[in-house]
């Protein structure tokens, strides 16, 4: 199991990605980190078993890839069907989808920040693990804010339910439109909720200000080398290069923030720019920029590795499309030394800037008089063959690509999911954090949480509210001596 000269640290939390994950850390003779592997130990094979299904059913099948962010798959799939059937939804249908999707973003970002990220910052990375959870957060920020968190996530779920039939695994997406419109009564209700979400978005940024930015230790941690990695960044932008979640162009910027490439989010142009590498020790593949090539697990300007998710979206854009979010965007870069920001933990702040944008955009759409139009379907007339679309999932760029026969039965599916895009970067972040906290064979007590923080920044699914509620996400590290004997177990 271990060779004579290495020791091994296993972190086997079996945590959620598109399934489960595991971390293996190998130490060299000096007791420093020789290598680290972040393994995704599960595969379900959606790319295969979607074959033979009628394409129009995929928005009801592919969301089962991830029940934490099913709305992202539902919308990506629906937009891929627009492209497949070469059909343009009526304006109201597009707005309804985007409105639904803003609510989805709000639910996901709230769950991630408060239940997952906040325990590390609000309660503290070195705090008593028994306190380091959502209940500890509530204890610290007060019951009033705690109740507000639950309420605003519930509003977002309720909006998705109104339009999609149910909040998880919604059903309204069809090529050329949506199955259900919005009544005036429902619209008024959503306006009230959206106003409240905007205030909640502002409050969340203020909490981040008070708790994180006002604490030098946290700021130092965010800026520290262990959590810094220079990569390229990918994100969807509108015609003015502002962040967009639903439609537009995919923009990639390099490690200096310069645009390398921009391609349409609808259609198969992504094939010219993205390729995927396979490693035999994990079930998940490693996407990279084709123009740069796969150069292994290295960062920097020559590497093909890029990152997605909130930090990447802010880095890849020139601004935000709503006023309060734009202000927050400017403050973000002014504080962290300009665009691009390479500090992985800044992802949490970026997520809150996006939460505010999603809330403001939700309100804009709910106030749009066209949103209650009954014109919500364009029936497809073209024989389908191939279609693809890219949207921004809460965790980053998401690609759905379908090929069909002339009856619209699926022949080929290609999926590149948000966490897939970040897979190589997550592996490197974990290794880098491990190297920072393990020296000369000494494993600091904070190791487990510090390493966990490195990947937690990327992935709400790892410790989304559901998993964190009963307590801290527990971890165990097994430390073996050079003979392979277990000499120490660190658990929390």
């Amino acid at each position: 199991m271990t060779t004579a000269t290495t020791r091994r640290v296993t972190i086997d939390p079996i945590t959620r990605l598109e399934g489960h994950g595991r971390i293996e850390i190998f130490l060299d003779e000096q007791g420093n980190v020789a290598d680290a592997y972040f393994q995704v130990v599960e595969l379900r094979g959606f790319e295969k078993f979607c074959e033979g299904r009628p394409a129009e059913e995929l928005p009801r099948i592919t969301p089962r890839i991830c029940g934490v962010c099913p709305g992202a798959h539902h919308i990506a799939s629906t937009r891929a069907l627009d492209d497949l059937f070469k059909v343009e939804p009526p304006p109201a249908a597009k707005k309804l989808r985007e409105l639904y999707y803003c609510a989805h973003m709000i639910h996901s970002h709230i769950a991630h920040f408060y239940a997952l990220a906040a325990p590390d910052f609000v309660v503290g990375p070195e705090a008593d693990p028994a306190q380091r959870n959502i209940l500890g957060v509530v204890a610290k920020v007060g019951l009033e804010i705690g109740g507000s968190v639950i309420k605003h996530r519930a509003y977002a779920q309720r909006i998705q339910e109104i339009l999609g039939g149910r909040p998880t695994h919604s059903v309204m997406g069809l090529p050329g439109g949506v199955s259900r419109g919005l009544s005036e009564e429902e619209r008024k209700q959503i306006v009230e909720w959206a106003k409240s979400e905007v205030e909640f978005g502002k409050l969340s940024l203020k909490i981040f200000d008070d708790v994180v930015l006002a604490n030098k230790a946290y700021v130092d941690l965010i800026l520290s080398d262990g959590y810094t990695m220079k990569t390229h960044y990918m994100g969807l932008v509108d015609e003015k290069n502002r962040v967009n979640f639903y439609d537009g162009m995919v923009r990639v910027v390099d490690t200096t923030g310069k645009e390398i490439v921009k391609f349409p989010a609808r259609g198969t142009a992504y094939l010219e720019h993205i390729a995927e590498h396979v490693e035999p020790w994990t079930y998940l593949k490693f996407p990279y920029l084709k123009a740069k090539g796969w150069r292994g697990f290295v960062d920097g300007q020559e590497s093909g590795i890029y990152r997605v998710a909130p930090l990447a979206r802010l880095n890849a854009a020139d601004g935000m499309a709503t006023p309060a979010a734009q202000e927050a965007y400017e403050k973000f870069f002014a504080t962290l030394g300009g665009r691009p920001v390479h500090h992985t933990l800044a992802m949490h702040w970026a997520r809150l800037v996006e939460l505010l944008y999603a809330a403001e955009r939700l309100l804009e759409l709910a106030l749009d008089p066209e949103i209650t139009s009954p014109e919500i379907r364009t029936l497809p007339t073209v024989t389908p063959s191939e279609g693809a679309a890219i949207i921004e999932a809460p965790r980053g760029t998401l690609i759905h690509h379908y090929q069909t026969d002339e009856r619209g039965l699926v022949r080929g599916v290609n999926l590149i999911v948000a966490t897939g895009n970040n897979h190589a970067a997550i592996c490197m972040s974990v290794k880098s954090a491990a190297q920072a906290v393990i020296k000369n064979g000494e494993v600091r007590e904070g190791l487990l949480n510090m390493v966990e923080m490195a990947f937690r920044a990327y992935d709400p699914c790892f410790g989304c509210a559901t998993h964190s509620l009963p307590g801290e996400m527990p971890l165990v590290a097994h430390i073996y001596d050079h003979q392979g004997n277990l000499v120490r177990t660190v658990t929390r």
Partner: protein, 346 residues
């Protein structure tokens, strides 16, 4: 009375699933705190695997109720299902995947090799000239790395271990989850083997107008704009309402979309897909041979439509031989880390 005050020990675990069942639990919102008053959650999905030894150390039968979601897709999930069964007095198959295989069981229309071939070789973005596929054991310079064995088929939970109760749905609606929790907490559980949902077909609770109309053709969902007040089947849209258990709150129908059967078959319609096929046939007007044509033309994917969530529980158990094969393998290699020499894609 003293016993009534004793807190229940609850366990939750996910296997081959999406996490939507967990989100559904969270969607009971503030009631989750009430649950905490009555029960200690001793195991939580993420907690379980790396506390494998701790779980093993618990006395058998010391967990009161285990809510298990997800299907069984690989060796690790099977081992944990067996371990949790030993430790739990009551095992609940929670959600469509645990009950019937769910969406992941659509993979049973294919074998492992073709899934690997697609994912790691023929997808248009994959660059893999060496044809690498994930290995259950791989030697890297510093030691061995392990991955669970990916089975040739997907299994529902009661294929692997005995199950006392079933909570269907993809995901189960929060109201139904809360009813189940109340039944568990109060100890008022029905007879073992029961499904904690309605007993009748979804059509009974559906509020759409039915006119006993026959159809002459079936339409796919993107082809027509259906009347939101009327029965979808009578408008020629395939809806699994007649053979699917009620209790979901008709949420898909409220969004003007048809049922795809995530609550599984009614007690009468044990074979979900076959029952739906015959239900569709009785809707078509005309003589026997004339009635076949619209079905053949309009229903383009009968297996994937009628068995959308229930392929692993179908009598079409096309992978039974595979089940026997891996049971034999598992007996020979009881240690979960002992996948040596076993290729994930073999």
């Amino acid at each position: 009375m003293a016993e009534a005050k004793k807190k229940l020990k609850l366990a939750l675990y996910w296997a081959a699933s999406c996490g939507g069942c967990e989100i559904a639990v969270l969607d009971v919102h503030e009631k989750i705190l009430a649950l905490a008053e009555h029960a200690d959650i001793v195991l939580w999905p993420v907690a379980l695997d790396f506390k494998y030894k701790d779980v093993e150390a618990l006395p058998d039968g010391s967990v009161d109720v285990c809510l298990f979601n997800g299907a069984i897709r690989n060796s690790e999930q099977k081992e944990i299902a067996e371990l949790l069964r030993r430790k739990s007095k009551v095992m609940v198959a929670f959600g469509a995947c645990a009950c019937f295989g769910g969406i992941p069981a659509l993979a049973n229309l294919f074998d492992r090799q073709s899934i690997f071939e697609r994912v790691y070789s023929t997808t248009p973005t994959t660059v893999n000239p060496a044809k690498l596929v994930p290995q259950t054991t791989l030697a890297v310079p510093q030691g061995d790395l392990h991955l669970p064995t990916f089975y040739n088929a997907v299994y529902k939970l009661d294929d692997i271990v005995p199950v006392e109760y079933y909570v269907p749905g993809c995901p189960p609606p929060p109201e139904l989850i809360w009813q189940a929790v109340e039944a568990i907490v109060s100890g008022k559980l029905p007879q073992a083997g029961s499904t904690l949902a309605g007993e009748r077909a979804l059509c009974h609770s559906c509020k759409r107008k039915k006119e006993d109309k026959k159809v002459t053709a079936f339409h796919r969902v993107h082809e027509i704009i259906p009347d939101p007040e009327k029965c979808l089947l009578e408008q020629g849209i395939i809806c699994s309402g007649p053979v699917t258990r009620e209790g979901c709150g008709e949420r898909c129908l409220n969004a003007n979309m048809p049922c795809r059967g995530c609550f599984g078959p009614t007690p009468e319609a044990l074979e979900h897909g076959a029952s739906m096929l015959s239900a569709a046939a009785t809707l078509v007007e005309g003589k026997e041979e004339e009635r076949l044509a619209p079905i053949l033309e309009g229903i383009v994917d009968p297996a994937g439509t009628f068995y959308r969530f229930t392929l692993a529980s179908s009598l079409l158990r096309i992978r039974d031989r595979a089940l026997a094969a891996w049971t034999a393998t598992a007996a020979a290699q009881p240690d979960r880390a002992s996948g040596k020499g076993e290729e994930a894609a073999s």
